[in-house]
Symmetry: C2
Subunit: 249 residues, 2 copies
DNA sequence: CGTCACCTTGAGGGCCATCAATACTCGTGG
DNA sequence: CCACGAGTATTGATGGCCCTCAAGGTGACG
């Protein structure tokens, strides 16, 4: 069930890669990029497939090229919490450790750009530029996880939903080097259940709060997945975050 | 209120440092250690003092030598969540960023071993060994934060308290390269209120659950801070975590 | 012995989980 | 064309966990 015909799929040259300037390879220059290009390979997963189980050995690390993956932890009685959402350009895997600490699931159809562990670790050692980039990305992940601690520990269900939609909008806008403003459209890449796993709620509560935000005019829906936010600022107010979140530049 | 007569205090040679082999400098060898020794300086804070406010400029990074510090985030209406607990050997600060993302507070009397930012970043660039060590510590922090996501998102108040005590016991045991087993004694380094901030609870709930664990014989108390766990395994069961958490070695 | 910080315990209510029933969507096959 | 079923989403009813408000209790220290 888990393995898949992975190695098929075109080999995209790094120069043409959609995540070239945001992934772990962002700071690479030509010679390093050539080394990466020579050893990388693509893997594809369908929505719902498991990429790795918690505790399982994984022999590669990877960048998400396309699609969405989730990292989750499950307790013995079945309660689960998603602890990370991997979007395009995010890095998957922990250098220096051969087993996955989390269960990794493809939440949509997913394309990974993989590197075998050993060569990649060797590259890390020999190429400070990549190591620095990875450190910086990891620090960003840590900040994101800590933002989520505030969300899980202190926010109401309504604020959680609003925060999540705002998070997606910001991330989306980040691709275009802009900030969300005014009217915004987003595709939810997750089911209600997966959102619940991520937000520390039940799927019923997610559904109810989305309905409530719709009733209150904070969002509108087309189908179940497509969300329109008429006024992004209003959404941020609902999220409980500081409205002026950071540098005005 | 915030500054303090900091630069007083003995200059402990790195060779005699209690956290020599667990801090960011763990992997350093003699020449690097000499460079660190030359530029480091100690700062002391009393319990309750603020080390840095969120958004504030901080010109140093540091290792915790002694005591406990907390990283916390606060919402506009006053709700706060502690997002990190810094114990001896933990690293404070983010290389590459001059402002603190969180409010840092001394939860007990605290001694930091500080390095001015710029020289430290230079050292990071020129010494891959230190950069690798910092990456590894950051990845550990990320795993710890994600463990806390599960705690905040899915655990009951009772499980949260049990998890927290178990966490302290493991951390304590780690200093002696052992694992907690059987009878264990711990000093809570936090007030009920600070524990509440860390666990996403109110101080009343923390108090009630500690009382309940005492009633049920999972722990006993001497004073408010000293906890004895008669059977560590029992505590782990109460925490909701897998009882066999990892490699048996 | 009074003050202050910290902690405990009680009473009541609100938010969200749980259980349950009903729609909606979409692909398959009669 | 409609029936069918599986996966997904919405909505309602009820209850429990934990927050809130409130009133002591404990211990350190001047």
């Amino acid at each position: 069930m888990k393995a898949q015909d992975s190695c098929q799929g075109l080999h995209v040259p790094c120069g043409d890669c959609p995540i070239r300037y945001r992934a772990v390879c962002a700071s690479c220059e030509a010679p390093e990029l050539d080394r990466l290009d020579a050893t990388k390979y693509y893997r594809r997963y369908e929505a719902g497939q498991v990429v790795a189980l918690a505790g399982e050995r994984v022999d590669f690390v990877a960048s998400v090229v396309q699609g969405v993956a989730g990292l989750s932890q499950t307790m013995e009685d079945g309660r689960t919490q998603m602890v990370g959402l991997l979007l395009p350009s995010d890095f998957l895997g922990r250098p220096g450790r051969a087993t996955s600490a989390y269960t990794v699931t493809a939440l949509s159809d997913l394309t990974l750009c993989c590197f075998r562990r050993m060569p990649f670790e060797e590259l890390l050692r020999s190429t400070p530029r990549i190591a620095t980039r990875l450190l910086d990305m990891t620090l960003d992940d840590l900040d994101a996880a800590r933002e989520w601690l505030l969300l899980l520990g202190r926010k109401s269900a309504r604020e959680k939903i609003a925060s999540f939609i705002a998070f997606l909008a910001r991330r989306e806008a980040g691709l275009h080097q802009t900030r969300p403003e005014g009217r915004v459209r987003i595709d939810l890449p997750l089911t209600r259940e997966t959102m619940a796993d991520y937000l520390g709620l039940t799927l019923e509560t997610v559904s109810r709060q989305i309905s409530a935000l719709k009733r209150d005019g904070v969002i509108t829906l087309e189908g179940n997945r497509r969300v329109t936010v008429p006024d992004f600022h209003r959404l941020v107010l609902e999220s409980g975050d500081d409205s002026d979140g950071g540098l005005p530049a």
